[in-house]
């Protein structure tokens, strides 16, 4: 049994990094993830880890160095946010295509312009096509737990895909929470040793990584890669179960909060799920049959499960802390609606909120539930009412 400690989100990330003690960390500081690199550097300077820490000169170089180290057979981790994630965008695709089991934390922050250092999900949402597993964390405990599980998921022989552990910038990164940790031994035993079968350092069997594909092979390579994602959810579930045996906290692709007899529900990612739980409790006191689906695993997208969970409800509200400019609705809503199409007629509404760190109030969430219940009663939604912005001054 580990300890109960009071810790800041970013420091918890650094602490998990320390317990994992990867071979290489190549990272660049960016608000609000900066402390991760700073605290980790202290561990390095004090010899508490023997990780090779590469203080790269940009996030693009961070991911490039991570890829080099991972292909060389190392266990590799890094951390970033927003503009940093955006800067390494081309490398994200390359990391997943080269099957690098890198684990990276992303302190979710808004994308410029204007420059805003506060929380929203535009950064990780923008990377959803890059082939990374994406896990979202509701609180600091989940960040810590997700990182340790992330190593097992990424390195699993059926996976070998990089994992992005997302957590809300400032909301979680800079808040103090009490978490339960595992011991160093428990973490090391849980993650085990890493060995890459086809390694760049295998000088007796030289291989070429990242060659040129012409029109005759790229499609087959991508199709081959796409197949891998069909097999990731069982691994996430299995690892989540084993983690439960280790720590008493088990995980799956989502968490259902008071959904057993719910008639309407909200779906949310990240820390807002915690806020919604409080509103659900409040409304339940009033006899309203509401619930929350907290999605933890956004990639791969657990479509079948969500159809089962949401398809039989009377109405669903999707909380999007990001927006797809010029798109029809925001990202989470689009994917949920697409999954439900042809399977259920349940009205699904989109609530775009919290951009640039705008806090969402309890009262606003109550209003959202009111809105969703109205749609449940009407059995449908007018087009004009389908997608709403919550909390912006008109």
């Amino acid at each position: 049994m580990g300890e109960r400690i009071l810790i800041e989100g970013n420091a918890a990330v650094a602490y998990a990094l320390k317990q994992i003690n990867p071979d290489v960390v190549a990272a660049y500081p960016i608000t609000p993830a900066t402390e991760v690199v700073q605290v980790f550097s202290e561990y390095v300077a004090n010899g508490e880890v023997d990780t090779e820490f590469v203080a790269v000169e940009s996030e693009h170089s961070a991911m490039s160095a991570c890829i080099g180290a991972s292909v060389a057979g190392g266990r590799v981790m890094t951390a970033t946010s927003a503009q940093g994630l955006a800067l390494m965008w081309e490398m994200l695709y390359i990391a997943s295509a080269l099957r690098c089991p890198i684990v990276m934390t992303v302190a979710n922050r808004a994308l410029s312009a204007n420059i805003n250092i506060h929380c929203d999900h535009s950064d990780s949402m923008g990377a959803r096509d890059s082939g990374w597993v994406q896990l979202y964390s509701e609180n600091t405990q989940e960040i810590y737990d997700n990182m340790i599980q992330g190593i097992r998921i990424a390195e699993h022989e059926d996976v070998r895909i990089p994992v992005m552990v997302c957590y809300d910038g400032f909301v979680l990164s800079h808040a103090l929470e009490v978490i339960e940790t595992n011991t160093d031994e428990q973490v090391q035993q849980f993650i085990g040793e890493f060995h890459r079968e086809d390694s760049l350092l295998d000088v007796d069997n030289p291989k070429t990584f990242g060659p040129l594909d012409l029109q005759d092979f790229y499609f087959e390579h991508k199709r081959q890669q796409a197949e891998v994602y069909e097999h990731i959810q069982p691994v996430v579930e299995q690892v989540g179960k084993e983690y439960g045996e280790l720590s008493g906290r088990s995980y799956g692709p989502y968490e259902l909060y008071r959904m057993d007899d719910a008639e309407v529900a909200l779906v949310a990612l990240g820390s807002t799920a915690g806020t919604i739980k409080d509103v659900v409790d409040e409304l339940r006191e009033q006899g309203r049959k509401v619930g929350l689906v907290k999605l933890r695993m956004f990639r791969p997208f657990p479509a079948a499960d969500l159809v089962d969970i949401l398809g039989g409800l009377k109405a669903v509200g999707v909380m999007d802390r990001s927006t797809s400019l010029g798109g029809f609705g925001a990202q989470l809503w689009t994917e949920i609606r697409s999954a439900l199409y042809g399977k259920s007629e349940v009205p699904v509404l989109d609530y775009i909120y919290g951009l640039g760190g705008r806090e969402i109030q309890l009262a606003e969430i109550v209003n959202i539930f009111d809105d969703v219940e109205r749609a449940a009663r009407d059995g449908k939604v007018e087009d004009a009412q389908l997608i709403k912005y919550v909390g912006v001054r008109e």
């Binding site: 071979d23 290489v24 190549a26 023997d50 990780t51 090779e52 590469v54 203080a55 790269v56 000169e57 940009s58 693009h60 170089s61 961070a62 490039s64 160095a65 991570c66 890829i67 080099g68 180290a69 991972s70 292909v71 060389a72 057979g73 190392g74 590799v76 081309e90 490398m91 390359i94 080269l98 760049l200 350092l201 295998d202 000088v203 030289p206 291989k207 070429t208 990584f209 990242g210 060659p211 040129l212 594909d213 012409l214 092979f217």
Partner: protein
């Protein structure tokens, strides 16, 4: 120990035939000579460009060493990651081979888009050699100008038109930029002097820490010279002092070849279609500017060598 071709010819060819670089490509000659310099296994990262593209068209690879291409601007940061992992695995007792690390990049992926990653890797002191094969333009995408393109050269983005006669800017001196990072070794080499090239690469591989080698890689297609003249063109570059052969070892500059007879820049221009316009009477002033620039830089290099030589002698004298 003196290098002999007979001995080198006994080593395995690490770049196989069957790659699709142009006939007469300077870059492939450079790589063959460079790989002969290593006596332990070498692992390479390669930036996007002619060399990378033409040697690894799936499912064929010409490389007989472990090799990775990730993107265009990051050969240096990719190899930095490989090297960091190597250090970590060795330290943890998980790997016990001795390996050397090389990053290959063209002038495109090195002088321009790759400069940041290169500078970062040099500053952090990774133990690797960065080899820039400089063909003085973005050749693979169709001969566009780079910051390595010399003054006056015609490229597809600095064409010789009726108003503007080719590239109007001088080129960057990347070898000096790298030396200015204070790395243990930086050098310029040419494929027509294989012994100078291979011994410098050996020095670069032997130093602990970062080393930079700039090799001029004539490009028959982009420079518009016959494909059988590649070695001759390389020689011309050195004999006109356009591409001096020198090294900077722990801050001390040494010129390793001085042409017996310094040839005029016009000879260099006359041999290549990309400079044909430079010999026209209306561009006489431009030609003169270009010649003055070459002379100035050559003189400056010789002065630096003299200065460093005096410094070394003085230091040794004081030491006694």
């Amino acid at each position: 120990m003196a290098l002999r071709l007979k001995d080198l010819a006994q080593k395995p060819e690490l770049l196989s035939g069957g790659h699709r670089l142009c006939a007469g490509c300077g870059a492939s000659i450079a790589v063959r000579q460079i790989l002969l310099a290593a006596d332990v296994p070498v692992v390479a990262a390669n930036a996007t460009g002619c060399l990378e593209v033409a040697t690894t068209i799936f499912p064929y690879t010409a490389w007989k060493i472990p090799w990775i291409h990730s993107a265009f601007e990051n050969a240096a940061s990719t190899i930095a990651g490989v090297e960091a992992c190597y250090r970590a695995l060795k330290r943890r007792g998980k790997y016990d081979r001795e390996v050397k690390f090389i990053a290959f990049g063209g002038d495109g992926g090195t002088y321009d888009i790759g400069l940041q990653a290169l500078s970062g890797a040099l500053e952090r002191g990774h133990d690797f050699v960065y080899i820039c094969y400089d063909n003085q333009a973005y050749m693979n995408t169709g001969i566009q100008r780079s910051s390595a393109t010399p003054l006056g050269a015609a490229t597809t983005t600095s064409p010789c038109g009726t108003v503007i006669p080719g590239k109007t800017q001088r080129r960057k001196d990347l070898t000096q930029i790298c030396a200015a990072h204070g790395i243990p070794y930086a050098a310029q080499v040419s494929i027509h002097r294989w012994r100078d090239l291979i011994s410098k690469v050996q020095k670069a591989l032997a130093v602990e820490g970062p080393a930079f080698i700039n090799v001029l890689a004539p490009c028959p297609r982009g420079w518009r010279h016959p494909e059988n003249k590649t070695i001759e063109i390389a020689q011309l570059a050195v004999d006109t002092c356009v591409w001096p052969l020198y090294e900077v070892e722990n801050g001390i500059t040494r010129v390793t070849y001085k042409p017996r007879e310094k040839r005029p820049l016009a000879d260099w221009f006359a041999a290549q279609g990309r400079f044909a316009h430079m010999l026209r009477p209306e561009n006489a002033e431009l030609l003169q500017r270009a010649q003055e620039e070459v002379d100035r830089e050559w003189e400056r290099l010789l002065r630096r060598e003299e200065c460093d030589k005096a410094f070394v002698e003085q230091t040794e004298a004081q030491g006694q």
